[in-house]
């Protein structure tokens, strides 16, 4: 069932010696401030995709240092997003058709330092281009649920699937597929799925963009009934088209009482090309979704390409790739967006983030600034992928959560000739999930 991928001995040796050279100085630093990142080899720079452990304490001398790196010499495309399961297992979705979903084998060496022992690709039964993962319990059973933007074939013009996995064995239990061309006119469909969020027996999945970033763009979210694992409603989320594309809903967050005490469950959706955040009310008594409504307009506010939702105990954070900011809101005021402070000025492509404390106890947020290595086509930069705007700063910026001050920046492209595709806490706050 499971296809194992073993990496070259050479890679292992190289990373081993990296660990050994760094661990002695690392012994006393706080582990919470180490992150695990997915790095992307860049065109013409002759670098490989990899997964790496990076020191991110801005107060430490080794800030920005790669402590261990595990390279994938034979993948055309990098891994995409990292997620910890509730039992502490680390997973990654992947953009390469050879490895659309993987489990990362983490262990500890005799000095206590974390080590990446390997990466095992999981059999997805043909589903390609993994995006998001959530773990959810329905009617007493735990599931691992994964969106595959290219579904059962990147060649399909309206593809996309949701894989339901056994969270223990990683085996596919079922595949939810409902291509527009195969369902009846007006019936709910799943196309280019990306964002996932669930509450009780209802899951919302977005329709974003064809995995080749060219064939088509979505403009809706679809509700899945998790009792039957079937799509039951597709809701259009679209208004202005500031760049002439469909709205491209990307991440979704089902706000629920476990996130905000006492809240009426509500769905938030970011539209990548609509530049908006939408709110869809949910009536739990009859399980119906209300009229979607724009609660944030990037056209009005001067931002574009909103991406992720993250939260801590007091705030909700939303990243906007253009101009590279993270906006912050009071958690207790949700579902109204009430600002809780000035924007965090990150970098072009502001995207994923993690929260931790520095050695001296300062609470910080680290923001990864890059979306798919997309650059402005007009720049004629051979190291990026042409797009309408530059959203690939390839940095991680670290900001003081209280003052918002930018404390430190590591630019992976300048320092390592690689892009930065994703960041996740290594341990500690890493078990906080962002959907």
């Amino acid at each position: 069932m499971i296809t194992t991928h073993r990496f070259t001995f050479y890679t292992v040796l190289v990373s081993m010696s990296l660990v050994l050279t760094s661990c002695s100085s690392e012994q006393d630093s706080n582990e919470e401030s180490k992150a695990i990142v997915l790095l992307r080899g860049l065109p013409t720079l002759d670098t490989n995709h990899s997964i790496a452990i990076v020191a991110l304490d801005p107060e430490s001398e080794n800030f920005g240092e790669i402590l261990q790196e595990f390279e994938f010499a034979d993948y055309a495309m990098p891994l995409h997003h990292l997620y910890y399961s509730p039992t502490g297992r680390l997973y990654a979705t992947g953009l390469d058709p050879q490895c659309s979903l993987a489990e990362v084998d983490l262990a500890r060496d005799a000095s206590g330092a974390p080590v990446i022992n390997g990466v095992e690709c999981i059999d997805t039964e043909g589903q390609q281009v993994g995006e998001d993962i959530i773990w959810h319990n329905v009617n007493g059973t735990d599931y691992m649920i994964v969106s595959f933007m290219a579904g059962t074939g990147i060649d399909q013009s309206d593809g996309g699937s949701i894989g339901i996995f056994d969270p223990q064995s990683n085996a596919v239990l079922r595949i939810i597929e409902a291509r527009k061309s195969t369902v009846g006119e007006g019936d709910p469909y799943i196309m280019y799925p990306h964002g996932l969020s669930a509450y009780g027996d209802r899951m919302v999945v977005t329709s974003t963009i064809h995995a080749d970033l060219a064939t088509g763009v979505g403009n809706s979210v679809t509700i899945i009934d998790l009792n039957t694992f079937t799509p039951i409603q597709t809701i259009t989320i679209e208004d202005a088209q500031p760049v002439g594309f469909p709205s491209s809903p990307v991440e979704v967050l089902f706000l629920r009482p476990s996130i905000v005490a006492g809240i009426e469950p509500t769905v938030f959706v970011n539209t990548m090309f609509g530049f908006e955040t939408w709110k869809i009310p949910y009536d739990e008594s009859n399980k119906s979704f209300g009229e979607p409504e724009i609660i944030y307009s990037g056209v009005d506010e001067g931002t574009g390409v909103p991406l992720e939702f993250y939260g801590n105990d007091t705030e909700l954070f939303i990243s906007h790739a253009i101009p590279g900011v993270v906006k912050r809101y009071q958690l207790s005021s949700l579902p109204e967006l009430v600002s809780s402070g000035p924007d965090l000025e990150a970098g072009l492509g502001a995207h994923h983030m993690i929260f931790y404390a520095t050695e001296s106890g300062r609470q910080v947020i680290a923001i990864q600034n890059n979306l798919l290595n997309l650059g402005n086509a007009d720049d004629n930069d051979p190291t990026d992928i042409d797009f309408i705007a530059k959203v690939n700063d390839h940095s991680i910026t670290v900001h003081d959560l209280e003052t918002g001050e930018k404390l430190a920046t590591v630019n992976f492209k300048e320092r390592y000739r690689k892009g930065i595709a994703n960041v996740e806490s290594l341990f500690g706050s890493g078990f906080v999930h962002h959907h």
Partner: protein
Amino acid sequence: MLNRLVKKTLSISAIVIAIIVLGGFAYIEIGSNRATPITDFSAPFVFGQFRVPEDNPLTDEAVELGRRLFYDVRLSGNNEVSCATCHRQQLAFTDGRQTAIGVSGKALALNSMSLANLMWGPRHFFWNGRVTSLEEQALVPIQHADEMDQSLAELVDELKADSQYKSLFSVAYGRITNENIAKALASFQRTLISSDSKYDKYLRGEATLTEQENLGRKLFVAHPDVKASLRGGNCIDCHSQFLTSGFNTLYDGFSNNGLDSEEDLLPGLEEVTQIRAHRGLFKVPTLRNIALTAPYMHDGRFATLEQVLDHYNEGIKMSSTLSPLIAEADNSTKGVVTQASLNLTEHEKTAIIAFLHTLTDRQFIAEEKFSNPFD
């Protein structure tokens, strides 16, 4: 001529360095001796970071030496008691007695503690946390009149007379000293890692829990929240999720879990910190292999896990230092609370006990590397 010699030396040292690097640093220097960094080591990622003292890195030789010392009755004054007398592998390194008995034959005041996963959890050892390293801990029972009653000077002389110990010490540490005896015992104990229970296999995705065990697991990790209809046993508030031991920051791993009322509280952690609010606080022990380590609590007052669950469910004694986590945890939906109680059902208590049984690690108690080398 001189030039060529220098070049040659340089290239030889380059080769030597290359060999060392390529060999994965096969040798490290400790004092004047060469010991091998531990070869067969792995620890679960989820247990978290641990620290090995820089002046006592884990080496194969130190661990082997420590294992011998741990099982050697010569460490006691009457040559009858070893560490393993009170820390038996088949009982997950406890002794099955209410309170331990050593050379004097007199019952000690306290219950012997399990020795598993000692690199994690509170960085303080003993029930009251009075020592802060395994090195410091090791010499305590040796000299204790009721435990092993051995003078360290005598012990060093005894070991020096043994050629096998001489050579083991020489490779591992150099000389035979009190300090090196302690270091070796600490090294062996650091390798006592229990991570192959059914629960570990569940965490790794290699096993599934039964419905009852899984209910127990969920109750173990949940703090009850009546408003959200969440039932919980609250255990994780003190016994951390993966290790089941107490937390490691400062004294977070110590608490008063309601065993005694105010007038009967023993000093506990207060003895160490001299802080009144620490009266009656004891180290939160690991629950790994708990089904093997009866009787329970610092004084071994409970013979069974049923009694332990009854305690948490309906036997909590109030005192000024009772943990607020226990005082406020309640699953009851009705009325005024007069007595701290979890109000779990029989069915739920049994489920938690079933979960506790998944913490038994048969591999750990059978592991050859941890067993008596004199057998």
